[in-house]
Symmetry: C3
């Protein structure tokens, strides 16, 4: 129940980040809704397609779609009158990343026992929505930019931490909490101290 509520909050945060990105490109209302949907549910959708789950999560439970819809309506109204709370959003987004990455890894564990598959599915769940947002708003995906502070790296570190816990026979719930906390810690430290991966410049 806690996990479910948290994931609804994560969807809402990602929907708002997508809606604002569309707004900064002066897309119209439909564009705002479209980018909000893609950002919020794109990662989990790709994970479910790649794992070939019987039913995609938001077809199974349309509450996720209503959450995106309502979040986009609220931010459409709010941002007409007030400045969007960018700093708050940045931390909320770190929370969404942490939650989606670990929950994506957990779903992947039901379909594969390969650690590289589980890590990849977790990272996809946490980050692909943002990549789709950037492609659709015609931006270089921020994820791949050396100007971005550790983002998918934070997800990878957290998922690996989660898998280590489990291999040490630490219970699933405790391992999840450890993974989520680790992602938050790495991402927020990276934002504060501007920790970045080096760019790759081949000769």
């Amino acid at each position: 129940m806690l996990i479910y509520s948290l994931s609804i909050i994560g969807v809402s945060v990602f929907a708002i980040s997508g809606a604002l990105a569309a707004g900064y490109k002066s897309y119209d209302w439909i564009g705002v809704f479209a980018i909000a949907f893609v950002t919020a549910i794109g990662g989990g959708t790709l994970r479910d397609i790649l794992l070939n789950t019987p039913t995609i999560f938001w077809v199974m439970d349309p509450s996720y779609l209503w959450t995106v819809f309502i979040s986009a309506v609220v931010i459409l109204i709010y941002a007409r009158y007030f400045q969007a709370p960018h700093n708050l959003l940045l931390y909320a987004d770190a929370f969404g990343l942490a939650l989606f990455s670990i929950s994506g890894a957990q779903i992947a564990e039901q379909y594969s026992s390969s650690s590289i598959v589980i890590v990849l599915m977790g990272v996809i769940t946490g980050t692909v929505g943002g990549v789709m947002r950037d492609v659709l708003t015609h931006e270089t995906p921020l994820l791949f930019s050396p100007k971005e502070n550790l983002y998918s790296s934070a997800a990878i570190i957290g998922i690996v931490g989660y898998l280590c816990c489990k291999s040490l026979e630490i219970g699933g719930d405790l391992a999840s909490l450890f993974g989520i906390a680790l992602i938050l810690l790495v991402r927020i430290s990276a934002i504060i101290w501007k920790i970045r991966l080096p760019a790759f410049s081949p000769r």
Copy 2:
């Protein structure tokens, strides 16, 4: 049989719009075929993947692929000698949008009873091919631009109208025709009187 013929015409119209878009970017023949395929069958393909249907519509019935192929060959030859009939195409495209949106919603009804899922699948079927065309020809997706007259909004209005008819116990065929007519009416009015959604400009 009527529906099948109409959907073949819809595929053909979308293939031609894709082929011309590739031509305006001076893509080569293969690029023209690729964009024609993506534009014509991209929306229905994504719908089938998201609904996890047992077989994608054009693997089940390859006539759709041949229709795209022949349409692209014809336009490649035609456009060497004659001006493409842009106004005709604009109205033909409205027809394709109307038909694909309602038929997509009908297919979704077999997999979900949630109205938001049905509306979303209808809109995806009608519009995603065009978004993929714009991404692959490296254009800002026209769909999201405030310079575009009501397009996906027309699809949404029509699908909601179709669902309202059905909830009033109006038969499926009549409801479909109503939905298709409503999309055509809204889209063509929007073209004629330049009706647009406002852009979203967050502070």
Copy 3:
């Protein structure tokens, strides 16, 4: 076993081409890994999704993922100190294209008897990874550019040759080798003599 070893080499070559493309855009390490994965396994993944195979090839056999990972690590280290061997890569890429296209067509034959479906799936397997690489590195897809020497055309010619062999009752192994050789021959001739498809310029 030979086919399996060859396809591992094909994945490695495509991973290296993706990693270098990301490097030329100064993406960070994560970007390099992400583009390497997408380029190497994107085509086969889309084929498996479109055919709705029970399990995607790299979830079934994660060796493909480890191959991408190790290839990207090696090129990250190598390219710091040495110039990347572009000419060698160009020919290695032709080899990957040939192998992926024919193996993709063979997998499609298990799901459809339609020649247009088989050709399309073969071309998708061979070329879509490269298109995704170009979209994610924000480049006009090279595949569609009239500046590119015959690429997907080579794949189409080879797959059609393979299907002709099979319809002449030539055994599957011999037909595959013929198809692979034909793609290599067309692609390498096109590189050497700069053979290109004409651009389409509609009025």
